[in-house]
Amino acid sequence: MSEREVLELLRENARYDTADIARMTDLEESEVEAAIEALEAVGVIRGYQPVVDWDRLEDERVRAEVELNVTLDRETGYDDIAERLARFPQVTALRLVSGDYDFDMEVEGDSIREVSQFISEKVAPVPEITQTVTHYIMTSYKEQGIELGDGEDDDRLSVSP
């Protein structure tokens, strides 16, 4: 299960270098490198990105969660619609979900106007899409497993028995 362990550590912090991962798992560094290469080769690892707390940047960054309802026909399936939507660079995440709507789409832009325009001009006109409900993200508290607050200060005694 060494690949799984390496994956868990990279999920925790993709900047752990291979030497650190080797130290933590008792693997050889070459084994860690091989595991990462294998995970990348088969497409389990699809990329590495920082977890960003946009609220701390002065530049405005607007993000929205969009619920999409679609209708299917003989020629068009979910995958076809997804393929079309996923190509837009504004779309940062797209998932088919169960429940009241079909797709859960995350969209990013520099302003509310930009995001709104994208949804009304590029997404809503897609023929299979019957409804869009847009939720602008006001504050993000946790992203990809990482809490974005200031964190709790370590108030333990600096030396204790």
Partner: protein, 395 residues
């Protein structure tokens, strides 16, 4: 002078840890690897249970021995995890931290002048506890050559056969050493042959990391308690609590397990001194046993990764360190030419890294440092980089 401290109080000086604490507190750039408590927060479920108990006004004393439901939960937990069979009615005493349980045991079982053998290096409170009870400490050194495990030779050499009690702490604070069943068998034989009783502090029992460790013969954890060995139950008190594995240090909740008459003796002191352990903490502990096993498993897995990392880094730095397999400490050697306290003090001054010199933990600790890895990995990386630089500059 009317408030002249008693001789036995004056016999105990301030803790060797205190000086380092004071130096570390003066600076704001210190990375502390001197901390003997988890950096994780108490699991939410346990915190919620404590809050709920307050909201419902459950703030009265409980039974002296602790809430009945909690003692039952402890009974089930220690049986499942460590194959320790103790009845909730008469064989379990809930205390204000395992520290209270240890203190009660010294006061309950040590007569003035009686000898208490302590396997060292060990937690700093045992020796003062014996002295406060009027006893005499017989230090039994453990050696790095034996991976800091206690041996019968060391017991014999130290004269432990003349003692009334033997104090064990495995997994060990400060070394991180563990004792397997095979290691404990000859110790148990020595104890039986010389008619000793054992106080076994197993507060770090959940934090045992050795994949190859022998089974504990009945429980689901890797830790083996000496009380599970033949004819040891009747002569052993086991201490445990919620501070370490459940990250509940400030809630102060521990317990003692032992034969009914021995627990009754400890309870006799407890009922006058403490009356009962904090009620809020007892509700938190009950919930911790009920529903926080996954939280414990997550913390243990994080500690294990850090342990491997820290061990590996010390070896790269050139500070030999035996394979600590329990608690959340490693116990590396200081480089040649250094005394442990000098090294720790200079390291703190020059690099702002706080560690505890091994000699404060008794015989066998000189020449070593206690390094806690109950700290985030990023801080561990930085602290180890500073230690590496310090060692390189002073080589």
């Amino acid at each position: 002078m009317t408030l002249e401290p008693a001789d036995r109080v004056q016999a105990v000086g301030p803790s060797g840890i205190r000086r380092f604490f004071e130096i570390a507190e003066e600076r704001d750039d210190v990375i502390s690897l001197g901390v003997g408590e988890p950096d994780f927060s108490t699991p939410w479920a346990a915190r919620d249970a404590a809050i709920q108990s307050l909201e419902h006004g459950r703030t009265s004393y409980t039974a002296n021995r602790g809430m009945r439901e909690l003692r039952e939960a402890i009974s089930t937990y220690v049986a499942d995890r460590f194959a320790l069979e103790y009845g909730a009615d008469e064989e379990i005493l809930v205390t204000a931290g395992a520290s209270e349980a240890v203190d009660l045991a010294f006061r309950a079982f040590v007569d003035p002048g009686e000898k208490v053998a302590i396997a060292q290096p060990s937690y700093i409170s045992y020796e003062p506890g014996v002295i406060f009870a009027g006893g005499e400490v017989v230090p039994v050194p453990t050696d790095e050559a034996d991976d800091f495990r206690l041996t019968v030779d060391a017991l014999e050499d130290a004269g432990a056969a003349d003692a009334e009690l033997l104090v064990l702490c495995y997994p060990n604070n400060p070394t991180g050493a563990v004792m397997s069943r095979a290691d404990l068998e000859p110790i148990a034989e020595f104890v039986r042959d010389n008619d000793l009783a054992v106080l076994s502090d197993e507060i770090y029992a959940e934090l045992t990391f050795d994949d190859d460790f022998d089974s504990n013969h009945g429980g689901s954890a890797k830790h083996t308690s000496i009380a599970t060995l033949p004819s040891m139950r009747e002569r052993t008190i086991v201490f445990n609590g919620f501070s370490k594995a459940h990250a509940m240090t400030g809630l102060r909740l521990g317990y003692a397990l032992g034969p009914a008459e021995a627990i009754a003796a400890m309870n006799r002191i407890h009922q006058y001194g403490m009356l009962s352990a904090p009620t809020t903490a007892q509700y938190a502990a009950l919930e911790a046993l009920d529903s926080c096993a996954d939280d414990v498993a997550t913390m243990v897995s994080q500690y294990d990764r850090r342990r491997r990392f820290v061990l590996s880094r010390f070896r790269e730095i050139g500070m030999p360190c035996f394979e600590a397999k329990g608690a959340f400490y490693v116990f590396p050697e200081v480089p040649d030419g250094w005394m442990a306290n000098e090294f720790a003090e200079e390291l703190l001054h020059e690099e702002g890294v706080a560690v505890v010199p091994g000699d404060v933990f008794g015989v066998g600790g000189e020449g070593h440092l206690r390094v806690s890895y109950a700290t985030g990995l990023e801080e561990l990386r930085e602290a180890l980089a500073r230690i590496e630089r310090f060692v390189a500059e002073h080589a």
